[in-house]
């Protein structure tokens, strides 16, 4: 398969990237640090470990997705390796999908590694394993997949630095747009509300993937909500990939 061949090579290339190991190293330090932080606090120490741990996985996972995602396609264009690749009888769509899948595989493995460290630290503290934690991590992973698609989209038309900044902006908006939903409820119905609603639909809402509070505080999570979030991630990621393809399809590689 052409897509899997490209995905495999992307994974191979990502594996060699020092940035990935640097971020992983910092993530590990933060995870360990949560343990010490817990020692210093009074009150629910397990909660601190969980809070800091999940936040670290999310933060460093996001940085990995953005930095890898914006770098890899650009590098292929910049180093002109794309010339021989696209001269082969492959669709540009296949190239982009292969890149995406290779990156997702990389992010998946990194998430698993971070999760293992996190669960180990948690286990050493509590001597139990809470499987619900894995659910929170799984949804962090879904968010990371979406962020990979975002990074890929920006890297199809701009330099890695700009693409990283745009992606970071997207991430921040994505985590603040829930406030828009609050606003909609307060505004009287009419044109203003319609505009806000449209804005809310177009803007990403990454809080949809946030089950950290529920998991940390042992709150019930409705299955329906899990389903909706998963579906939201799927559709939004597909939308981003299609957008990237439309840009990439007609691009000149001078």
């Amino acid at each position: 398969m052409k897509i899997t061949a490209i995905a495999r090579n992307t994974f191979k290339e990502a594996k060699r990237d020092r940035v990935l190991y640097l971020l992983f190293f910092f993530a590990a330090i933060c995870l360990l640090f949560s343990r010490f932080l817990a020692l210093l606090t009074v009150g629910d120490r397990v909660k601190i470990i969980k809070d800091v741990g999940l936040a670290s996985i999310q933060l460093f996972g996001m940085l990995m997705a953005i930095l890898m995602g914006t770098g890899l396609v650009y590098k292929e264009i910049d180093k002109k390796t794309i010339f021989t690749l696209l001269a082969k009888p492959i669709h540009r769509v296949e190239f982009l999908l292969g890149k995406f899948l290779g990156l997702v595989l990389t992010i998946f493995i990194m998430t698993v590694l971070m999760a293992i460290i996190f669960l180990l630290i948690l286990f050493l503290h509590t001597f139990t394993i809470e499987w619900s934690i894995l659910l929170a991590i799984l949804y962090i992973f879904f968010e990371l997949c979406l962020m990979t698609a975002v990074a890929l989209l920006f890297s199809t038309f701009t330099t890695p630095i700009l693409a990283s900044l745009y992606s970071l902006g997207f991430y921040l908006i994505g985590h603040l747009s829930w406030s828009l939903e609050m606003l909609i409820k307060k505004v009287k119905s009419g044109a203003g509300r319609a505009i806000l609603r449209l804005l809310y639909i177009v803007l990403p809402d990454l809080e949809n993937f946030n089950f950290k509070t529920e998991v940390v505080h042992h709150l019930p999570i409705p299955t329906k909500l899990l389903g909706i979030s998963f579906f939201y991630g799927l559709v939004y990621t597909a939308f981003l990939l299609i957008l990237s393809m439309l840009i990439f399809r007609r691009r000149d590689f001078i």
Binding site: K80, L85, P89
Partner: protein, 305 residues
């Protein structure tokens, strides 16, 4: 004869800058390549050779015009099914070894199993890279990259091989090897399209050529038709006599030691030179008629434009 590749009135402009400025690179390029021939695409630096090739391969999209490969519109990936391509300064994944690199591309082309392994081994042998097969590409020299690049272009057993400056970066032996490989490709029934400005190479192996200058094709056709068999002048090297003796017969170009190199333009004067040398007890070292070369044509055309 079937046309393997045909370009009709291809135009391409690049736009750059913050406020885009247009630069017309290809100004209506048309030519065709017949099945089974070696076609040379000549032009000075910056004429648009690489740009044309990128249009053919869909790396860039022409603003206007039509390109067909095996009768198929070049916009379809299917048209590239039987095409192999070597870019001008091959850039490859430098972290892969030669063998890994070829394996990756073989996977892309859907080769698998024993036939894949055999094909790769065969190509490594063909381009003389067996010993460097397990070395990372970052440790390759330019000529070695060129060789592995050629192997990559031949992976899918292409019926049309497109080579952009294939001899660039090669030593004289490498150039000869590449020429032999290209001629062999022709013998196998493949069509070869190559761009170059090393005219001797083209003259030695090409059947037909097109000459591009500043984005326009200014001449194309069979090499034999472009180059006349007419003798331009005859070079006579004479020993033991002063150059002044021959001033009325031709132009003495250089004298070194006791030798004179004489350019004789009229055929009738050659006999006079010979008898004069015999009469004065001199010696003729060599006598060589010079016919027109591709270089003469090329230089003339570029001057005339």
């Amino acid at each position: 004869m079937a046309k393997v590749l045909e370009l009709e009135q291809v135009y391409k402009a690049y736009r750059f800058g913050f406020i885009p400025k247009k630069k017309q690179i290809l100004k209506g390029v048309s030519f065709y390549v017949n099945e089974g021939e070696i076609f040379g695409y000549l032009g000075p630096n910056g004429a648009g050779k690489t740009t044309t090739i990128k249009c053919i391969l869909n790396l860039i999209f022409p603003d206007a015009g039509r390109i067909t490969i095996f009768g198929e519109d070049s916009l379809k990936p299917k048209a590239r099914q039987r095409v192999g391509f070597l870019p001008e300064n091959p850039y490859f994944y430098d972290y892969l070894t030669g063998r890994e690199f070829l394996t990756f591309y073989a996977d892309l082309l859907g080769l698998h199993g024993q036939s894949k392994i055999e094909k790769i081994a065969y190509l490594l042998r063909l381009v003389g890279m067996e010993r460097a097969a397990d070395l990372q590409l970052r440790k390759y020299s330019r000529g070695m990259l060129q060789r592995i690049g050629l192997a990559q272009a031949l992976l899918n057993d292409p019926a049309l091989v497109i080579l952009d400056e294939p001899m660039g970066g090669l030593d004289p032996i490498g150039r000869k090897e590449f020429r032999d490989i290209i001629v062999n490709l022709k013998k196998e029934g493949k069509t070869v399209f190559l761009s170059s400005h090393i005219l001797q190479d083209i003259e030695m192996i090409c059947d037909r050529v097109a000459i591009i200058l500043a984005g326009e094709i200014i001449n194309q056709g069979y090499l034999g038709d472009l180059i006349s068999e007419k003798v331009l002048y005859t070079e006579v090297t004479i020993a033991g006599l002063p150059a002044a003796e021959f001033n009325h017969l031709g132009e003495s170009v250089s004298t070194s030691g006791n030798r004179v190199l004489l350019k004789v333009y009229e055929e009738s004067k050659i006999d006079q030179v010979i008898s004069l040398v015999q009469q004065k007890k001199g010696k003729i070292i060599s006598l060589m008629p010079r016919t027109e070369t591709l270089e003469d044509i090329f230089v003339n055309m570029v001057k005339n434009q």
